[in-house]
């Protein structure tokens, strides 16, 4: 295994009650990658992230995270789950949520250390939300909450950052700020971003993979129209926002 390889999936298959969710996935992610995974809903994008995190065990195939199994690799992985999955009224502050990312470092039965708090402060500064640290989580907007969850993933000082549909509830102007943040973060860690927002993704990420139970990936932004159509199972018209140059290069 190459020394800058962060994740390796070899012939991974996952079934839910006999129905295949991932078929024969072969994927290698390197330290310097900023990978966008696109594909339709139900195509297995969240499953892929959960396999990398060890939350789901594949029926077949091998998953290696930073040289070991996914459960051990978790301490180096930052996870930003889909935004919608928490109780907005929960009595917890932004500060408390971000500190949760340090649970692996802090150890059972102990209070959070000064080091933990310093890292949390730094993470909140990175996402520009330090001023809101005492607000109840539900008082923030969708985009702000998403940044809190990114901060929570960053405090573990991960080597790999996984984001699941991070802009699903964020409107266009906020999205630019969000992607610019990711571009700054990619200097220090590998990033895998799962989304069905093709246009924004294609501008900012360095590599694109298509996933619909099967994976199409060329370690680049090259995806053919055939591969896109096979992924989305329908004819695709590519609409690109922003500068009118070809975003997705043609593949022969």
């Amino acid at each position: 295994m190459a020394t800058n390889e962060v994740v390796k999936l070899e012939d991974v298959w996952v079934h839910y009650d006999g129905v295949p969710a991932l078929e024969g996935i072969n994927l290698a992610i390197n330290q310097e990658d900023f990978l966008g995974v696109i594909g339709p809903n139900g195509g297995g994008k969240t499953t892929l992230l959960k396999v990398i995190l060890g939350l789901i065990r594949p029926g077949q195939g091998k998953v290696t995270v930073l040289g070991g199994n996914p459960e051990r690799g978790r301490r180096f992985v930052g996870y930003v789950p889909q935004y919608s999955l928490f109780d907005r009224d929960f009595p917890v502050s932004v500060w408390d949520v971000v500190l949760m990312g340090r649970l692996g470092q802090a150890g059972l039965f102990r209070r959070y250390s000064e080091e933990d708090k310093k890292t949390a402060r730094h993470a909140l500064e990175t996402v520009e939300l330090l001023d809101f640290k005492d607000r109840q989580i539900g008082e923030l907007s969708g985009g702000e909450q998403q940044r809190v969850f990114i901060a929570r993933a960053l405090v573990a000082e991960p080597k790999l950052l996984l984001l699941d549909e991070p802009t699903a509830s964020v409107d266009a102007p906020m999205q630019t700020g969000f992607y610019e943040l990711l571009q700054r973060l990619k200097q220090r860690m590998a990033i895998v971003l799962v989304t069905h927002d093709i246009s924004a993704v294609s501008i900012y990420v360095d590599e694109i993979a298509c996933l619909n139970r099967r994976l199409f990936y060329h370690h680049s932004k090259e995806i053919s129209v055939e591969e896109l159509e096979a992924t989305y199972q329908c004819p695709i018209e590519l609409i690109a926002h922003g500068v009118p140059h070809r975003i997705l290069r043609e593949h022969d």
Binding site: R74, V77, F86, D87, F90, P91, D96, A156
Partner: protein, 275 residues
């Protein structure tokens, strides 16, 4: 009377702290299931000739753990498991009481509470359980917070979420045992829900919610006790009615408060100040 006040205060500590987890985790139905199931332990205690409270202690903890393990390891939906647990314990208790020779002393007290006649031994048990509950919550505070807020992230962050969940179920079982003599099995659910739910309206901090919840629990217990003495009403039920009445009043009060202060989100605040 002094015993009754002590029992009320000890109960308030337990239900104040654990009630917060019950309410924020939406485990109210679980608390109902565990509390009614404990009657099986009461029956077991009678049948074996030991103190029914001790019988309840072991039986309830075992049942809660069993339910937790079954829900986690099988596809059985949680509310089904709770429903089964609820009736199984009650039915078992009824049969065991029936099989015990002679007249079961204090049966009414276990079902409906009898805070005025709490024996010293029971107070001692309540104190020990309170100490256990406070210690565990203190040691595992940040883990329980993560478990309650976002369990999946907790697993990813590296905490043993399944074991923590089972520990939480045990703490609920212990709290149920503490509350049995105060309001009776049938009404325990009230004290595990109402003080915490009322506290939630006054704070966004889980720690403060616990403190307020203990305070409200104490007010309900003492107030209900005094009222039941004055009116000669059943003590446990009066405590519950006092808590319901104050809770409804607090709902009206907090609605008035939120209408007067329009809550503005930080984003809107910044937009308004930029203009």
């Amino acid at each position: 009377m002094r015993h009754a006040l002590l029992a009320g205060l000890l109960a308030a500590v337990a239900c104040g702290i654990i009630g917060v987890y019950v309410v924020v985790n939406r485990m109210v139905f679980i608390s109902g299931g565990v509390s009614h199931c404990s009657f099986g332990g009461i029956g077991l205690g009678y049948y074996l000739g030991i103190n029914p409270v001790l019988g309840a202690l072991f039986f309830t903890v075992a049942s809660a753990l069993g339910m937790g393990v079954v829900t986690r390891r099988t596809k059985l939906p949680e509310d089904t498991a709770i429903g089964v647990l609820w009736v199984m314990g009650m039915a078992l208790g009824i049969i065991l009481v029936g099989l015990t020779p002679g007249y079961p002393p204090d049966l009414f007290s276990y079902l409906f509470g009898n805070i005025l006649l709490v024996p010293t031994f029971d107070l001692f048990v309540m104190l020990i359980l309170d100490i256990v509950i406070i210690s565990v919550v203190f040691l595992l505070y940040k883990e329980f917070l993560a478990l309650s807020f976002d369990e999946e992230f907790g697993t990813v962050a590296g905490i043993p979420t399944e074991r923590l969940y089972l520990i939480l179920l045990c703490l609920i079982a212990l709290t149920v045992v503490v509350l049995i003599k105060v309001v009776g099995i049938i009404l325990i659910m009230a004290l595990l829900t109402i003080p915490a739910a009322m506290a939630r309206q006054f704070t966004h901090s889980l720690k403060r919610m616990m403190l307020l919840s203990v305070l409200f629990g104490a007010v309900f217990a003492v107030g209900g006790l005094w009222l039941s003495y004055a009116l000669d009403w059943a003590s446990g039920a009066t405590i519950v009615l006092v808590s319901v009445a104050l809770f409804i009043a607090s709902l009206g009060f907090s609605r008035l408060r939120s209408r007067r202060q329009l809550k503005v989100s930080p984003l809107t605040q910044r937009q308004l100040s930029d203009e």
